[in-house]
């Protein structure tokens, strides 16, 4: 563990270090000064302006909190709501946690190196806030916890650091959305996330991104899954963004640990997405799956996937399917690395178009051509995610449904 000063020192050295992949962003173009917003009580959430609520809904945030176990809501640089209603599950702003909890040092910058690149450095040097969500040993989340990182101020760079901890035998579901206010055009989001899935714990993390056309986004996340643990990581992005680059990494560090990544991306014109997932299988019985569905309506999508089998008796599969609808560019880069005898690893990648035959088939059942096309697209985007509670599945379907109009 590094001391606060050591972390700052390392971060300072990496201040201008470019990211390993993805276009370089000049962070000096953005403003990092704190933007104060007043804290909202539970009942105030529902009084947010309609159009703002709409943006939040699209990002999976339910202001009524009806079917949520807790909420973390950050607007620009300030936490405007944070509470949990479920026993055994803690939701705390990270700045507060850093001040109050001694144990936080066992997690903070433990998996992601602070000097990875200029973005990790920025998150240390100019941390605004972020959430710590922790499920205590044996606790089970009934409803998902929701977290929202909202950008309202044009030109802002939001620096966030999140810690997600599922203690032994716990079950934790999180739905997290990033969204921008309707008037915002330009901004940057830097988000560090570190996931700790302990022995026999189960964590599902569903992230929905709703950015604006001139947003640059650089999440950096690493997860660690212990013996018998399960980590499901879902990612949905169906809105334009100028540049988004992330390559979350997961280490399976105990026997029978499992990781599954599912991502659904719709790429709009002028947008560039460089996304992927990397999973290290280090113990016998490890399983990993990466599934991606990408549609380009004119945007550029690079879909990466990298599975590394380090020991025998592991199984890993990578699947990437792309659909080009109105021009665009999809680049699938699936990688498999087996380091010993006895690994079982496979991948399949396909990029294509909607079959005319499927459209006419649906039309002969009475659907118009547009209805038929959107039905097929929706089908293409719907992936069966094993181990996800039905409620959360419904939530994902809703997100796809909501954005459906934008796809066509």
């Amino acid at each position: 563990m590094y001391t606060k000063d050591q972390l700052r020192e390392k971060a300072k050295k990496a201040k201008d270090k470019k990211g390993a992949i993805g276009p370089d962003i000049n962070l000096d173009e953005f403003d990092q000064a704190p933007v104060p917003h007043s804290y909202l009580a539970e009942e105030d959430l529902c009084d947010l302006p309609q159009e703002e609520q709409k943006q939040l809904i699209m990002a999976g945030l339910d202001v009524t909190e009806k079917e949520r176990g807790g909420t973390y809501f950050q607007k620009d640089t300030s936490v405007i709501h944070c509470h949990t209603r479920q026993e055994g599950i803690e939701v705390t702003p990270i700045k507060k946690a850093l001040e109050q909890y001694d144990w936080i040092k066992d997690y903070y910058w433990k998996l992601v190196a602070v000097d990875t690149d200029k973005y990790t450095a920025a998150a240390e040097l100019g941390l605004h806030d972020g959430y710590v969500i922790r499920a205590l040993p044996g606790s089970k989340s009934i409803y998902p916890i929701q977290a929202c990182l909202y950008l309202d101020k044009d030109g802002l760079q939001q620096n966030v650091h999140n810690l997600i901890i599922a203690e032994e035998d716990s079950e934790l579901h999180i739905i997290t959305g990033c969204a921008t206010s309707p008037h915002l055009k330009r901004g940057a989001h830097v988000g560090i996330s570190e996931f700790f899935v302990k022995k026999n714990a189960k964590l599902s993390f569903t992230m929905i991104h709703n950015w604006a056309e001139e947003m640059v986004v650089r999440p950096r996340s690493v997860a660690q899954v212990e013996e018998g643990g399960l980590f499901i990581n879902n990612y949905i992005c169906m809105k334009p963004v100028r540049s988004l680059q992330m390559y979350p990494t997961t280490h399976l560090v105990g026997r029978d640990a499992v990781a599954r990544f599912y991502s659904i991306i719709v790429g709009s014109p002028g947008s560039e997405y460089d996304l992927g997932g990397r999973i290290f299988l280090k113990h016998p019985g490890n399983r990993a799956e990466i599934v991606a569905r990408a549609i380009s309506n004119g945007g550029k999508i690079i879909a990466r996937g990298h599975l590394i089998g380090e020991v025998p008796e592991i199984k890993a599969h990578l699947e990437c399917r792309g659909l080009i609808l109105n021009g665009g560019h999809i680049h699938a880069i699936p990688e498999l690395e087996g380091l010993v005898d006895g690994v079982e690893m496979s991948h399949e990648a396909a990029i294509g178009k909607i079959a005319q035959e499927e459209i006419t088939y649906l039309m002969s059942r009475g659907l118009t051509e547009d209805e038929a096309t959107s039905t097929i697209v929706r089908g293409f985007l719907s992936v069966d995610i094993p181990g996800l509670p039905p409620k959360l599945k419904a939530e994902i379907d809703k997100a796809i449904e909501e954005s459906d109009k934008d796809v066509m």
Partner: protein, 254 residues
């Protein structure tokens, strides 16, 4: 009523239907015989409105309206439905959702599925990995939800195992209102008068005739509808002496 007048159709600039006249009155079911490649499926696809089947002359009139150049979905909305022989798979679309999409009004897909012994497939993707017989039952299920007035069946019994052939046969009979006699205990005349559904069935084996009382048989040979006759007689003739001989015989007698 479906009325086809001197229809000529090309597919990729090749003439596939040369001269078709056909009339199906409300309540009537016709059976279409013909060797492979004679244009049977093409005729069904043309009636359904597939744009690659180009009508170069003639007309298709349905319920008094000229539908020759109508889109597929408009025809479906008017009451034409089809049971395909090899429909495409639609990934991610559950059969359950598909059944709902077919119906204009609210339907109970579980109830409908039970009738064709298909409940366990409702949550599978449409046609994904279905066997020949499962495809047929899925198609019938969709038609049941759609409930069209004119139904086109492309070899509904092919690939169906012996266990399911009677289920498929009886379902088609029910769709075409051919079962009213036994089900509702009506007189033959009453049942016939009340029947409105029209059917056009392609069959190779004729098994379907065991379950569906067809009114007329037609032989399509080399792009021409060569005859109208009792379907049983046509089938017997084809079985005995083959299509060519059968067509020759018919041409003589007509």
């Amino acid at each position: 009523m479906l009325k086809i007048d001197d229809l000529q159709v090309t597919l990729e600039d090749k003439e596939i239907l040369k001269h078709i006249d056909l009339e199906i009155h409300p309540g009537e079911t016709h059976v279409l015989f013909g060797p492979n490649g004679s244009g049977k499926t093409s005729l069904l696809m043309t009636i359904m409105g597939y744009p690659q089947y180009k009508v170069v002359a003639g007309k298709i009139i349905f319920k008094g309206k000229d539908i020759t150049h109508m889109s597929i979905n408009e025809r479906a909305r008017m009451g034409i439905g089809m049971s395909y022989q090899r429909p495409p798979t639609i990934n991610g679309l559950k059969t359950r959702q598909m059944v709902k999409l077919c119906a204009e009004h609210e339907v109970d897909e579980n109830d409908l599925a039970k009738q064709v012994n298909f409940e366990q497939f409702l949550d599978r993707d449409v046609n994904a990995g279905f066997s020949g017989g499962e495809i047929k039952r899925s198609e019938l299920l969709q038609l049941m939800a759609q409930n069209p007035e004119l139904m086109l069946f492309d070899e509904p019994e092919s690939g169906v195992d012996m266990e399911n052939i009677s289920l498929v046969g009886k379902t088609i009979a029910s769709l075409l209102q051919k079962d009213r006699l036994t089900v509702e205990n009506k007189t033959r005349m009453q049942a016939k008068l009340e029947r409105t559904k029209m059917g056009l069935i392609i069959t190779h084996t004729g098994y379907i005739l065991e379950y569906v009382a067809a009114d007329k048989g037609q032989v399509l040979y080399d792009g021409i509808l060569s005859c109208t006759n009792n379907p049983r007689e046509i089938l017997d003739c084809i079985e005995e002496s083959g299509y060519e001989e059968c067509v020759r015989c018919i041409l003589k007698t007509n």
